[in-house]
């Protein structure tokens, strides 16, 4: 067998065993990241933070290479990454982390979580709408859709579809949400100390404020794994609340303001 034959054989196995291949690839990625964390940063940077950033970098090149929207998961041999990191297994693993929750801590931070959820929906929306206005959007539908995108990349298109935004504005709205999620993943470990993100209570506030489940999931994994369930507990309500108020209260408010 020549080298192309061997390559095709390997590719065939990767396609046929997609999820198993994803386990092996991700395991390898984490192995390299942990080694880099220990050797290159002397343990100052969490291995999982490096792995997540490495994942994002690979997603960028995967996206350039395939022209698709799902990073490396659009490469047939790595399609299993799509299943492994998709919403189904992501939510399954997030629920599993709840097994480690300290109930007393979570209950004590309940009110703080609600306050964080409210602020986490209103603040990004205001920033998003102001940005839209600054860039010359004057109709209530476009302004609301872009503002909703700043809440999360799901709230954006759900709101846009409900109030009839056009597709370029929708794309802009989704891109805003995705950019926010990516920045939360990368930025959280960098600012964690500064914002006091080192205990269950602040993790619940963080989850409600940042919202985007993928951003929060990645950001906390890279910062301190034991905080994951607390952040996830509040973050999971964020998108639903955003989808609730985006096309209703927020849209009506914007329409009343811009006419």
């Amino acid at each position: 067998m020549n080298s192309t034959g061997i390559w095709h054989g390997i590719e065939h196995v990767f396609i046929e065993q997609s999820l198993v291949a994803a386990f092996a690839v991700v395991g390898g990625l984490i192995l390299v990241s942990n080694y880099a964390a220990k050797r290159l940063t002397n343990g100052r940077v969490h291995g999982s933070a490096i792995a997540i950033v490495l994942g994002l970098v690979l997603a960028y090149f995967g996206g350039l290479y395939t022209g698709g929207k799902k990073g490396v998961a659009d490469i047939p041999a790595l399609a299993g990454i799509g299943l492994m990191g998709g919403a189904m297994l992501r939510d399954f693993a997030i629920v599993a982390t709840a097994f480690e929750v300290d109930v007393i801590e979570a209950r004590r931070a309940g009110l703080l979580g609600v306050l964080a959820l409210a602020l986490g929906t209103i603040l990004p929306f205001i920033v998003g709408t102001l940005t839209a206005v600054a860039f010359g959007y004057h109709d209530a539908v476009s302004i609301t859709t872009i503002g909703a995108g700043a809440i999360t990349y799901i709230v954006g298109p759900v709101t846009g579809a409900a109030i009839g935004a056009d597709s370029t504005v929708m794309a802009l709205s989704i891109a805003t949400g995705v950019t926010k999620a990516v920045m939360v993943m990368v930025g959280t470990p960098l600012v964690a100390k500064l914002i006091g993100l080192d205990n269950p209570r602040s993790a619940m506030a963080y989850g409600g404020l940042m919202g985007t489940v993928s951003g929060v999931a990645g950001g906390l994994a890279a910062t301190d794994p034991k905080l994951v369930p607390y952040g996830a507990l509040t973050a999971t309500f964020h998108t639903g609340i955003g989808c609730l108020v985006g096309p209703s209260v927020f849209f009506l408010t914007v329409r009343a303001l811009v006419g």
Partner: protein, 145 residues
């Protein structure tokens, strides 16, 4: 049995997501409202219930904690399938809106985390950290509620 742990986790997830869908419909929203959060609360309740009856076996714990330990790898896989190209080529409006809301929200976290003091970080939290980090060597026996 390990499978009971996995099945318990699956049942909690399914019920939670279903209730989240119902809540979405009730509120007239085209999205799941807090399904995962409801599932988490169900799993916490199930843990306490089983523990009080002395039925929280090693197998059940292992079945759930295995998936908690797979959390970070799954998040890495999630990162590897983000639409990073779109994020980086979105132009100034996207960057400004995203950075602006991020800075404001980080500031709000800093403000809110000052309320009510710090939580405790005892042996239980260390156990949770080891499980979710997926480091089996560091997993210490937990103090049950």
């Amino acid at each position: 049995m390990i499978v009971f742990g996995v099945a318990l986790l699956a049942a909690c997830t399914l019920i939670g997501v279903y209730l989240g869908d119902l809540l979405g419909i009730a509120l007239g929203v085209k999205a799941n409202v807090g399904g995962v959060g409801i599932a988490m609360i169900l799993l916490i309740a199930a843990r306490i219930w089983l523990d009080r009856r002395g039925r929280l076996s090693k197998g059940v714990k292992f079945g759930v904690e295995f998936w908690a330990g797979m959390y970070i790898p799954i998040v890495v896989a999630m990162a590897a399938q983000q639409n990073v190209v779109a994020a980086l080529t979105g132009g100034p409006i996207v960057i400004i809106a995203a950075v602006g809301s991020l800075v404001l929200c980080f500031g709000a976290v800093a403000l809110l985390s000052r309320f009510g003091g710090r939580g405790h970080t005892g042996a239980e939290a260390a156990h949770a950290g080891a499980v979710i980090e997926g480091d089996a060597d560091k997993i210490a026996p937990r103090r049950e509620v």
